[in-house]
């Protein structure tokens, strides 16, 4: 197992940046997700780590060894492709043994290691089959087996679950997580699915438009986003973001009668702004409160999510009008068009500079944001 270091690594295709210079240090045994919308450069970054794509600038260190210009075959990394890339002309067994043959392993050693990894993934009954005869989940298990069998320094996975249907994706997600815990293997995992990233990673690298937006634990990127992009991108729906003006201990948003509280710890950070600020809060930060409440509006739509309902509330009128998403009890009998009022938990409010789009007073951590362990944070 190994550490991975990216030092000012960048990639240009022609005159366009695919990845702007980025730094990233991945600890031994860490599970890191590269997360972002399509075309953000996450896959290019992964391919640069693997050596399938040459870097334009910067250096890549694997276990403190500079591998920037090494061929993929001598980087000692494994790569799991989105569409598995199982060799169709070989049986499952031959597929799994293929990387070991490259190393010139003895036959009995190959047999032993194939048997081990096949046991681990419970695919012993598939060994003689051709990949095309397997289900998507089994193909992915074989691809994982082919990656695991070499005991590489690091695993790189490019949207390995993207081609699976929803139910199977949940199963495979748990399997990959289990494998990671058992093997304690350094893993870089590319996905556009923030649920997947939140569920699996130790740390998430959020990317957009060829740039790293934030690097942090799932809790950090969720509760303490570095900028408006991350606030919008993480969570479904994303953070509610309302433009407003600071008015004493509260932010005035979306017209008269709607305010968001400013926690005492943020006051000095906000004092430097000219008064304009974007206030953000997650749907679960709102508590519906009868007739009181610092904000209110009309219900525009109601989504049933099973364990809870998501209310789309139309807040304010005219220029300041916006839709705010709040969570409510699954039994709550809200109907479209009816008025609703709610309060916002001050600990869950975040602030952003409307011009630079950066978070203000980030790191004034809330209790939730300090809770970094992936084993405790659900999504």
């Amino acid at each position: 197992m190994a550490t991975i270091e990216l030092k000012q690594v960048a990639k240009k295709f022609g005159n366009n940046w695919a990845v702007k210079p980025m730094d990233l240090t991945i600890a031994d045994g860490e599970f890191v997700c590269l997360l972002g919308p399509s075309g953000c450069g996450k896959t290019t970054t992964l391919r640069m780590i693997s050596g399938l794509e040459a870097v334009t600038e910067g250096a890549i260190l694997l276990d403190r060894r500079d591998v920037t210009w090494r061929h993929p075959s001598d980087r000692d990394i494994a790569f799991v492709f989105q569409f598995y890339a199982l060799y169709p002309h070989m049986s499952v067994r031959e597929n799994i043994a293929f990387p070991l043959q490259a190393e010139g392993e003895k036959k009995e050693n190959i047999d032993k290691r194939v048997a081990e990894v096949v046991d681990l993934l419970r695919i012993g009954h598939l060994l003689k089959a051709r990949p095309s005869k397997l289900s998507g989940g089994d193909q992915q298990r074989v691809a994982l087996a082919r990656a695991l069998v070499r005991r590489p320094a690091a695993f790189l996975m490019d949207e390995p679950l993207g081609a699976l249907d929803a139910e199977l994706r949940e199963t495979m997600r748990a399997e990959i997580k289990q494998l990671h815990l058992a093997q304690h293997a350094t893993t870089v995992y590319v996905t556009h699915d923030q649920v997947e990233a939140m569920a699996m990673s130790d740390r998430i690298v959020v990317m957009s438009a060829a740039e790293v937006q934030q690097i942090g634990s799932p809790a950090q990127v969720y509760y303490d986003p570095a900028n408006l992009f991350v606030a919008r991108f993480i969570g479904s729906p994303g953070m509610n973001l309302l433009k407003g003006r600071i008015d004493g201990e509260r932010v005035q948003v979306s017209g008269a009668g709607n305010t968001v509280p400013i926690p005492a710890s943020y006051r000095s950070a906000l004092a430097t702004t000219g008064g304009d600020v974007v206030a953000g809060f997650r749907p679960e930060a709102a508590a519906i409160s009868g007739n009181g409440g610092s904000m209110g509006g009309e219900i525009y739509a109601v989504d049933m999510h099973g364990s809870y309902k998501l209310l789309h509330v139309s807040v304010g009128e005219g220029e300041g009008a916006s839709i705010v998403h709040i969570r409510s009890d699954r039994m709550a009998p809200y109907t479209i068009g009816s008025p609703v009022r709610f309060d916002i938990d001050p600990d869950m409010v975040r602030f952003f500079d409307p011009k630079s789009e950066r978070a203000l007073g980030r790191g004034i951590a809330s209790p939730a944001a300090r809770n970094d362990s992936k084993r405790e944070v659900g999504q």
Binding site: S50, G51, L52, H71, P72, S73, D74, I77, A78, F79, F81, F83, Y84, A85, L86, Y87, P88, H89, F98, P99, A102, E103, R130, P131, S132, K133, G136, Q139, R146, R150, A163
Partner: protein
Amino acid sequence: MSATGLATAHSVVAPSSRSRKIAATLVILYAVISMVPLAWIFMTSFKTPPDSISYPPKIVFQPSLEGYCNLFTTRSRQTPEYIASLPPPAGVCDEVVRQRNMVIAGPSNYVPRFLNSLIIAFGSTFCAVALGTLAAYAFSRFKVPLADDLMFFILSTRFMPPIAVAIPIYLMYRELGLSDTKLGMIVLYTAVNVSLAVWLLKGFIDEIPREYEEAAMIDGYTRLQAFWKVVLPQATTGIAATAIFCLIFAWNEYAFALMLTSDTARTAPPSIATMLGRGGIEWSAIAAGSLGFLIPVVIVAFALRNYLLRGVTFGAIRQ
């Protein structure tokens, strides 16, 4: 089916049984028409020379091996007294030939020329497909400068019939000492076929996803090893199809062979043609020679039929 049309469940998009019958009839008719010349050659090869030129053509006749005997031997005419003085005939051909007042003087040059054809056709096919596969892979996977122009240039070598450059090639070959050599013919047919091979194979290799090679390189192989172990096995369909096209061209080529070869490298097609006009046209011998000439291409096409018919397999990559 009843008048209401409700009698049987049937697909409304699949071809109806009537249209399928019409299609089957047309295919069978076409097959029969295509087979007639072959049947004609087959029958003629077993006719005696008088039968082979009789009119109307005989459908029922006494089969004879005379055509085959004439194909494989050279003969000389002798007086009946001389033939009568000979020991009893040693074989079937001896007997057949003596009935025409002739004796076998030696083997004909059909077999060596047939071998020339085999060496030149298979040699040039191998070279064209090998070069074509490597070139197609390079065009498919690498950023080749001016790739489109180069591909067009390669195609442009087929814009005119190859024989249009016969005279320059003849002069070049004379200077280079390649006239009437097997190597010269292999080089020539390779040059003609390689453009076809590059274009056909590029299409096939483009269809093979790059992930396979990338996976192989990650798995510890060099690009060349990845090409050999992962790309080639998946390109077999395209390679087989390309090989057959190249082989058919090289095997049947007549004009260059007639012009550039005389004895050591002469191939079968001009050789069979020159059986005309040596003491009358030996139709049955020509038919026998043509029939033998068909065999290698039929064998190769038959051997590769699985590759030709098997759909390209993209099993492990969902498209």
